[in-house]
Symmetry: C2
Subunit: 337 residues, 2 copies
């Protein structure tokens, strides 16, 4: 029997600092949504929780327009088409990837969603992790932006996070020496034992600066998910011709950025700091996914998820991204397939 | 008649902030310098005063070792060989370019100096300006590092300075739209009238932020000689795929760097921030100089010098680099050829 109501979460108030459950409102609404021509009704299976989504809550436009107060919170996720409007490019039962939002059900322009298939030996949720923008970010960031080569020293911050853990695994497989920065001895142990990084260092440790200098005094690639102070420190440890890849800046999203003071080290090291957005690689997602599926089949890319159950827990789960509460990709399981 | 004494200037005390005449000592010494085998005695004609030399006064090593207290101050310059040791690769009368130092006379390993010729239609001092590392920095920075293309908008800070004025002229000739940032209405007028930049904006003006945003809301290349706050502002005005070329950071050399907070704009703009050092291009200096001579002969690259007379005035002149006191390349004329 179909449900008659559904849950959705809207922005109640813009956060100025960290986004907490206070800033969102969980609403229950009648399920009388019907797609028009070209539209589809999507039932959400999983929500992808991503640090960069914090920026969408700010009033300043970025890659996407700001989310407005009262709107369903924008979010990537995985869903299934349950009703299709006339002439829609998608049909009932199609698995789709896209901006489903923090809602159990939503009507979308079919063209704004991507129909996806579950590769053999993979789980649907893998499409939000190693085979989603998270994995693709690691893949294109490492090989297309950073041009990582075997034998180079790669340092990655936020190494136990969604993108970080894939970076670690792909970089190891590419023959790099991998130094992983993460918070706390448990994550570090996990990175060394489970993901096989050469060395994991704990940024919460009192000896972090000394540890970092000892382990990677001259790094070739710095894959940055965190920004701020650790990035600033990394800038003092660049090998000649180093590439600093700006992927995320989780330490900076919740407040006015503290910034970096050592940028002139880019001159001394003849180094490059480069920003990229995965959305620019959309035409190459299929190519990247095909490669990543191969690596999964080789057993060299393990899926790492932190799953929270129930859409109503999304606002609270979102905070884990900034407290270092998740190991692997953070998702919310909304409804079973 | 040969002089029996000569003047040299040594580091008296390391500056922690701005370097002032207090930090140097002008000495008079007997002229009993004689080159050994492979060495030459060089009479200094011109000293090149460069902002990056401020960093050599710090205790931390950079591209060069720190200058030690009591040492003659390291400096690029132009000299003439007045005595040659046995087997020296240079001979008396050779014009040489290199680290002559703040001294009227000095003994050097002949191999550490570069013999130079004065191209037709040029003045010896041009070898420290448009044909020296200054001009070569602009040349390789624009075309080899930034890959400036016709029709792009280039913004250059420190535009009236040594490198900046050459950047303006070469970028105009390459068909770019050139926006020059300089201090004060006189420099701005000079940049527009004499160098033909499309627009010069005064960073000392109260309306600077608004002026910058109006004139170059989306820039393709930012050629940075200054660093700090203006760089940070430029980062908010990047066109997609912009290149931020770090050449100098005069605003940051005299103190603990203030840094930049908007580096994450490199991600939003898929932009690159790149540092380079002209010394890496040594094997291509001849190629660059040959091109620059052509541009001089075309009349599209005017030499711009600020000449201070007398070596004893060097410490005071050095301050002009940081107060915005010079227009064009700052040199000290030491002894007539």
């Amino acid at each position: 029997m179909s449900p008659t109501t559904y849950t959705r979460i809207v922005l109640r108030e813009r956060p100025t600092g960290a986004a907490t459950p206070f800033h969102f409102r969980v609403e229950r609404a009648p399920l009388d949504l019907h797609p028009q021509a070209g539209e589809v009704l999507v039932k959400t299976l999983y929500l992808s929780l991503d640090p960069h989504a914090r920026r969408w809550l700010n009033p300043e436009p970025g890659h996407f327009a700001p989310i407005q107060v009262g709107d369903v919170v924008r979010s990537f996720g995985l869903g299934v088409v349950v009703e299709a409007g006339a002439g829609s490019s998608l049909k009932v039962g199609d698995l789709v990837d896209g901006l489903v939002g923090w809602t159990e059900y939503g009507v979308h322009d079919a063209k704004a969603l991507q129909k996806v298939d579950i590769p053999q030996g993979c789980d649907p949720v893998d499409l939000l992790g190693p085979l989603g923008t998270t994995g693709l970010t690691a893949y294109f960031g490492l090989f297309d932006v950073a041009h990582l080569k075997a034998g180079e020293t790669l340092v990655v911050s936020g190494a136990a996070g969604a993108t970080g853990n894939v970076v670690c695994q792909l970089a190891k497989r590419a023959g790099a020496r991998v130094v992983a920065i993460a918070g706390g001895p448990e994550k570090c142990a996990w990175l060394e034992r489970e993901l096989g990084v050469d060395k994991a260092i704990d940024y919460k440790s009192a000896s972090f600066r000394a540890d970092f200098a000892a382990v990677a005094p001259k790094l070739d690639v710095y894959f940055d998910n965190v920004g701020g102070e650790i990035l600033d420190l990394a800038l003092t440890q660049l090998n000649r011709g180093a590439r600093v890849i700006l992927c995320g800046a989780t330490s900076e999203y919740n407040s006015k950025p503290k910034g970096i003071t050592n940028y002139f080290q880019l001159v001394m090291a003849r180094a490059t700091m480069k920003g990229f957005l995965i959305f620019d690689y959309e035409s190459r997602y299929a190519e990247g996914r095909a490669d990543l599926v191969k690596v999964i089949h080789e057993g060299k890319l393990k899926s790492q998820f932190h799953v929270v159950e129930g859409i109503e827990n999304t606002p609270e789960a979102f905070q884990l991204l900034f407290s270092g509460g998740n190991t692997g990709k953070l998702v919310v399981k909304v409804i079973d397939l």
